[in-house]
Symmetry: C2
Subunit: 353 residues, 2 copies
C-alpha cells in the first residue's frame, strides 16, 4: 500500500445516505452476506443473531473504534478501517486460545459519508470475514452528529480445557511474544508527520518510501490466527495469554497483576523490526519505548511452562523475552546495561489530558 | 420522576477521568460486579467473556446509543440513560422469545464527563442488570473527541424450539401488540418543548404536571420480560415477533416483508394511553401517527394462530390490532372511517436529512 492514494482519495460517485434511509442501508449492506458456519443459525435480519454452540464454550468480546480517537479519516482508507475494526476484535478471541466464528457490526455515520464510502468500509469488513473465516451475523446502523463510530462484537468458541486466561501465570513461566513490536506506533508517527506536511502543502506527495512494513502494521494489522493453531500443533498450552493492543508494558502488567506475580523482561530480547528501528532513529524516539508503550501491534503475549522451552524455541517468529517471578520481586525491565526499571502502564491516558 | 431535577442537575464532586486513566476506570467500574449466572464462566477482566450454554442456542444482539442522536444530555439523567441503554438490547432478546443472561458494555466518553457522571450512568446499567437478572460480563472503555457513546451487546439463551423469528407469519394470523404505543414519542416532544422554554428562561421550572407516564415511557422504558413468560404460561408460541423500537408501522412492515405477506391493521384497535392522547391533542399531533411512527416504545409486536385467539383475548394489556393477509392485498391501515391507507416506514430517515 502507498499512502499517496489515500490522501488524495477520489470519490467518482456519491449516493447520499438519505436516498436509502436506515432500512434501505441495512438491506444494501446485508443482501450479499453468505453464512459460512452451521453454528450461525440466524444471522443479520432479525432482532438478534441465533448461534448454536452445543459442546463448546462461547467467547464474546466487543470494541469501539471512534473517528478522531482511534483513526484519522485523512490517512485511513475506509477499506483498511473496516478490516482493522474486525481484526482488533478477532485478536481478543485468539488471545483466549479460541476460534472466532461470528461478528456483529454496529455502525454510526454522519451524512458526511456517502453510500460509496460505507461500501468501501464494508469491503474491508467482508475481506476480514473471508480471510478469518467468520460470519457477519448482524448489527445495527445509526446516524451520528459528526464522524464515524464502529462497534464490533466478535463471538467465538473453544473447548473448555483449551481456553487460556490472563490471570493464570505461574512463577518461572517463560514470557513469550509473537512477531515484533512498536511497528504500528511508528507507522502512526510517520502518518502524522506526513499529515503535517500535507496541511502546509496539499500538493506535496507523502514520502513513504522504505516504510511499507510499518505503514501496513498501522493501517492493515492482522490478528495472530496462526498462534492458537501452532499451540495445538506443537501440543503446548500457554499458562496465560493476552493480545498486545496497548503496548507490551500494559499487557505484561495485566498478566502479572491478574496472576498476582512479578516478572523480569529483558530489553535486548524484545523483538523490534529493522524498519521500526530506522524510523525510531529518524524521529529520535527510543525503539524500546515504542515496543513498550506503542500499542496496536495485535501480537500475542503469553506465558509457557519452563519445560516447553525447547518446543517453542525452534519456532520462528516467537521470542522469549523474560520470565515470571514472585510478586515481591516486582515487575521489572532489565535494560541492555543490566539496570532494572519498574514497568509502568500507559494505555490511552495521554488522550484524556 | 420529575424533570425539574434533571435540568438543574448538581454535581457536588467532580473527579477527572484523567485521575484514574483507562485501566483505573475499568477497575473502578468492574470491582463490585457480582456474577449471577453459572453460564457466565468468565466476566469482565480478560480479552473476552466466556459463556457456557451447553444445551440451548445462544442469542446475541448489539445497539449503539449516541449523544445528540439517541439522547440529549440536557434532559436525560445519566442513571436513566444507563438503564435505557440496557433495556433496548434486552428488548431485542425478548423479541426472540429468549432469556437474556449477559451484557457487554462499551463506553466512549469525552473529558466533559467526570468519574461521578460515569458512576451515575453505571448505577443505571447495574440497576437494569439487577431488575432483569443479567450479568455485566465485560466491555471496553474509550475516550471520544466530544460526547458519549454507549454500545451494548446482550447475550441470551433459548431452547431451539422456543425461538421466534420475524419472518414466519402466516396468512390469517392475528397481529397483536403488548402495552400501548406512542407514549415515548410524546414524552420526547414534551421534553423538547420544555427545553425550548428552558433555553429562553433557564430559571423557569419545567411544567411536567400530569405527564409522568409519557415521561417515564421516554426516560425509563422497560423491556417486556413478562411477555415470553406469559407465552410459556398460557402455552402459546407466536408465529412471529419483533420489538417496537422504530414505531408500529416499521415493525409491521418488517414482519410482512420478512414473511412475504400483507396485512390489515385497524386504527381503532391500536392501543394509545389517555396521557399520550391528551399530549398529542395539546401539541396538535394525530395520536395514531405517534403510535405508527413514534418509536422507542419497546413493546412487543407478534402474530398468533387464529386458534389462539381465546387464550390471548383474556390477557389484559394485549391488543389484537389486525391480521396477516396474502402479499397481493398489500400492507394496509384501515382507518376509523373504513378507508384503507398503505402503511409506510419511517425509521430514523428524518435524522439523516
Amino acid at each position: 500500500m502507498t499512502g499517496g492514494k489515500t490522501m488524495h482519495r477520489s470519490s467518482q460517485q456519491r449516493t447520499e445516505l438519505s436516498e436509502l434511509g436506515e432500512f434501505g442501508l441495512i438491506e444494501h449492506l446485508t443482501k450479499d452476506i453468505k453464512i459460512k458456519h452451521p453454528s450461525t443459525v440466524k444471522g443479520a435480519g432479525d432482532d438478534a443473531a441465533v448461534l448454536d454452540y452445543k459442546d463448546n464454550q462461547v467467547i464474546v468480546t466487543t470494541d469501539l473504534l471512534i473517528e478522531g480517537i482511534h483513526f484519522d479519516p485523512l490517512y485511513t482508507p475506509l477499506k483498511h478501517l473496516g478490516y482493522k475494526a474486525v481484526i482488533v476484535n478477532l485478536s481478543d478471541i485468539y488471545a483466549m486460545n479460541a476460534t472466532p466464528l461470528q461478528i456483529l457490526v454496529s455502525l454510526g455515520v454522519s451524512n458526511r459519508y456517502s453510500i460509496e464510502n460505507i461500501d468501501e468500509l464494508y469491503s474491508g469488513i467482508n475481506l476480514a470475514c473471508k480471510n478469518y473465516n467468520v460470519d457477519l451475523a448482524g448489527g445495527d446502523t445509526s446516524s451520528t452528529v459528526s464522524g464515524m463510530i464502529i462497534s464490533i462484537t466478535a463471538i467465538g468458541e473453544a473447548k473448555k480445557s483449551d481456553i487460556v486466561y490472563r490471570n493464570t501465570a505461574k512463577v518461572n513461566d517463560l514470557i513469550c511474544v509473537s512477531g515484533d513490536l512498536g511497528g504500528a506506533y511508528m507507522g502512526l508517527q510517520l502518518l502524522e508527520r506526513e499529515k503535517e506536511v500535507f496541511k502546509v502543502n496539499p500538493d506535496m506527495q507523502p514520502d513513504f518510501e522504505d516504510n511499507h512494513y510499518i505503514l501496513e502494521r498501522q493501517l492493515k494489522p492482522e490478528a495472530r490466527k496462526d498462534i492458537p493453531d501452532l499451540f495445538r500443533k506443537i501440543k503446548v498450552k500457554p499458562t496465560s495469554m493476552i493480545d498486545i493492543s496497548d503496548g507490551l508494558s500494559s499487557e505484561v502488567i495485566h498478566i502479572c497483576k491478574g496472576s498476582d506475580k512479578g516478572c523480569k523482561v529483558y530489553e535486548d530480547k524484545i523483538p523490534v523490526h529493522p524498519e521500526t528501528q530506522a524510523m525510531a532513529k529518524d524521529l529520535n524516539i527510543d525503539p524500546t519505548i515504542c515496543a513498550l508503550s506503542g500499542g496496536e501491534d495485535y501480537e500475542l503475549l503469553f506465558t509457557l511452562k519452563l519445560k516447553d522451552h525447547d518446543k517453542i524455541n525452534t519456532v520462528p517468529g516467537i521470542s522469549v523475552i523474560g520470565h515470571i517471578t514472585n510478586k515481591n520481586e516486582g515487575m521489572q525491565l532489565v535494560t541492555r546495561d543490566g539496570t532494572q526499571i519498574k514497568l509502568t502502564a500507559q494505555g490511552w491516558d495521554a488522550l484524556l489530558r
